[in-house]
Symmetry: C2
């Protein structure tokens, strides 16, 4: 006994989504079958439309369906500060803090010699473009705190030197609410290095 062909295909498609296994894919497929036709159509349209309408913001390369993303478009944001992140979801995470009022630059990846991702494969060139008019005074490197993120940040920092802007890095340290005893060596070492006076 096999699944009906169309059902099998749908399960296969769901299984391609990140962290969806066979069981979840089955559950999702059956869920789709249980929906009224309009809702299924709305779902499929949302998928197609997102792919069709979403592209990179002309300035910061974040995802948008207009020419500029909502941050770049806003006149309430400080255009003199750029926070460089690896992925669009990092923008969402930083925006949630509600404490950053500069702009972003989304690299859409990180340098990785192992995976053969070089400087031309991520959005470094459009970042450099943004320094041409001398408006930018600070760049905050907010790539991930791992080897590849670190290397990417250092590479970009070096490229930015000629522009004479201040380049900073997010602070390392122990995460708020964490237990000291479970912090790894490296994090603790960085936390001690970066200690601050009360």
């Amino acid at each position: 006994m096999q699944y009906a062909v169309s059902l099998e295909k749908l399960i296969e498609q769901f299984q391609k989504l990140p962290s969806v296994g066979l069981k979840s894919a089955q559950r999702m497929a059956y869920h789709i079958l249980s929906l009224p036709e309009e809702e299924v159509k709305a779902f499929a349209d949302a998928v197609v439309n997102a792919k069709k309408n979403i592209h990179y913001c002309a300035v910061c390369c974040d995802f948008t369906d207009e020419e500029l993303c909502s941050v770049c478009k806003s006149d309430k944001r400080d255009k003199g500060t750029i926070c460089v992140v690896e992925e669009s979801k990092d923008v969402v995470a930083i925006e949630k803090t509600g404490e950053y009022f500069g702009t972003y630059h989304v690299l859409h990846g990180r340098l990785s010699p192992v995976k053969k991702i070089g400087a031309d494969d991520i959005m470094i060139k459009p970042l450099l473009e943004r320094f041409k008019d001398g408006e930018v005074s600070e760049v905050i490197m907010a790539t991930n705190p791992n080897i590849e993120g670190e290397a990417t940040a250092m590479y970009i920092a070096r490229l930015l030197k000629p522009f004479g802007v201040k380049v900073t890095r997010l602070a390392y340290g122990i995460p708020v609410g964490a237990d000291l005893e479970f912090a790894d060596d490296m994090t603790l070492r960085r936390a001690i290095e970066g200690r601050k006076e009360f």
Copy 2:
């Protein structure tokens, strides 16, 4: 800052899938954006086609995209035995054992006074139709071992009495590979009741 409209909509749609939270929905949406256009189209098509092509098998009410499902169509299956299950996925589970050669009947639900699901809301009528020609000799009730499944099984068993067929129920007992100490009272009691000689 908000998401781009099309992206927001896609995330919302993914969140409607069973056991998909905001974080997973975001990950899925970004995954869709990262795919080439053909693949996104294939995904959306699979969704729409499944809903369009899949309907209930004319005999057993399982999902199929032909008139009869693969089990009802096969001449290797014993048409004299019907295994009654709540959902299509239960058919998949039983088929996986490779030890059942009869046919199925999918109710697409269970009786539930609380949720106001009565006999007419699930596929009981098509089940009764199958007894008209007197070919069926045994019905195995394989609804879920909980109050609603139990009640559904008992209700159907009573309806089947006039047809004079044998009605059986899946055996209760301790699951294979489980630890006795963690079995609940009810299961253990049923396991003792149903004990078998070596």
